[in-house]
Symmetry: C2
Subunit: 205 residues, 2 copies
């Protein structure tokens, strides 16, 4: 399949979400032109992105929405929602667990927290374990993806435990920077940074 530019992967996610909206609206086909317009891209770019994965469109018609959704889900490896664990059931972690939209897309099989008041309970249906059990659960269940929402100071240690237990992808919401060995993919999401990024483009009062 060749090397896919990360920018393309990001756009695939956008395509997928838009396609699902269009499907709900009852549409069957969509053209690269329409996708491009709705996502503020060029139609050529949409086609280039999609053709990385083979010819998926129908000339004169566009792309079959249902089929393209299936294809994109396969490419992104989310045909079935992926199993993941969440470490740190605090404000942000709980918000994620509470979000039906989020929960529909990923199967969070367990949460972990150091707070003994939380351990043993369920939060929005997800069982909360002690952080001492991370390693065991990850191994036993063969989990590959972890969502990290602990305080930043413990994040590197927890990340070490996760990687050691066989986790291969970490969605890191903490501002701590995490060193990853080859084969482990860290994706940092820093909400504070997103605001600062926005600020650059907005004139001051």
């Amino acid at each position: 399949m060749g090397r896919i530019p990360p920018a393309t992967v990001k756009r695939l996610c956008f395509y997928l979400h838009l396609l699902e909206r269009l499907k709900k609206e009852g549409k069957e086909y969509v053209s690269s032109k329409e996708l491009a317009e709705r996502l503020d891209l060029t139609d050529t770019q949409v086609r280039r992105d999609l053709v990385y994965f083979g010819k998926m469109g129908k000339r004169g018609m566009g792309y079959e929405i249902e089929k393209l959704i299936k294809e994109l889900r396969k490419i992104l490896k989310i045909e079935k929602p992926r199993r993941a664990i969440l470490i740190g059931a605090g404000n942000l972690g709980t918000a994620l667990l509470a979000s039906p939209f989020f929960r529909k897309r990923v199967e969070i099989v367990a949460a972990f927290d150091a707070d003994i008041n939380k351990v043993g309970r369920r939060i929005h249906g997800v069982p909360v374990y002690s952080d001492c059990e991370i390693s065991r659960v990850v191994r036993e269940m063969g989990i590959k993806i972890a969502i990290l929402t602990t305080p930043p100071d413990v994040a590197p240690d927890i990340a070490g435990i996760l990687i050691n237990a066989g986790i291969q992808g970490i969605l890191n919401f903490t501002p701590a920077s995490i060193k990853s060995p080859p084969g482990v993919f860290i994706h940092d999401v820093d909400l504070t940074m997103e605001l600062e990024y926005l600020s650059f483009f907005v004139e001051e009062e």
Copy 2:
């Protein structure tokens, strides 16, 4: 100052956060080489990014951390934390309001919600108003930035109200897509998408 590549702006945020950590550690100077190593970039790229804004380094020495922090904060227009409002004090909105790290970087002057049980109260110190008052407050206080954490279905309408009232930047956490007129900058953050993006790079179980 010329046109700055968005990728550079994103990296400026990374530099800033790392520099602040280094400052706390008591360091005075840092080289592009070290910045690059810690952020998984090349030293040339760090220097290229910084030199867009003038010569800020000292040959043989590196960059003066304190001075560079000041400079970056000026470039990102966050010398003083920017004033912003938050619409939708639900799970995610409340998590943001609860985060000291987030609150240190942006001054959230008001929250808005349609739920009358929330209106009139304070959440983590921030007063909650009815969504009917958005327009008035934005105008009176001259707010330019809004954080949107409502359910997706009302997001486009709220965005319309915000833009009409003079908001120039929206940090949109909803999966709804928001059309912006020229002069208004929408920055979409879709936490679900971040997970799907990560999934692409992680082998399936």
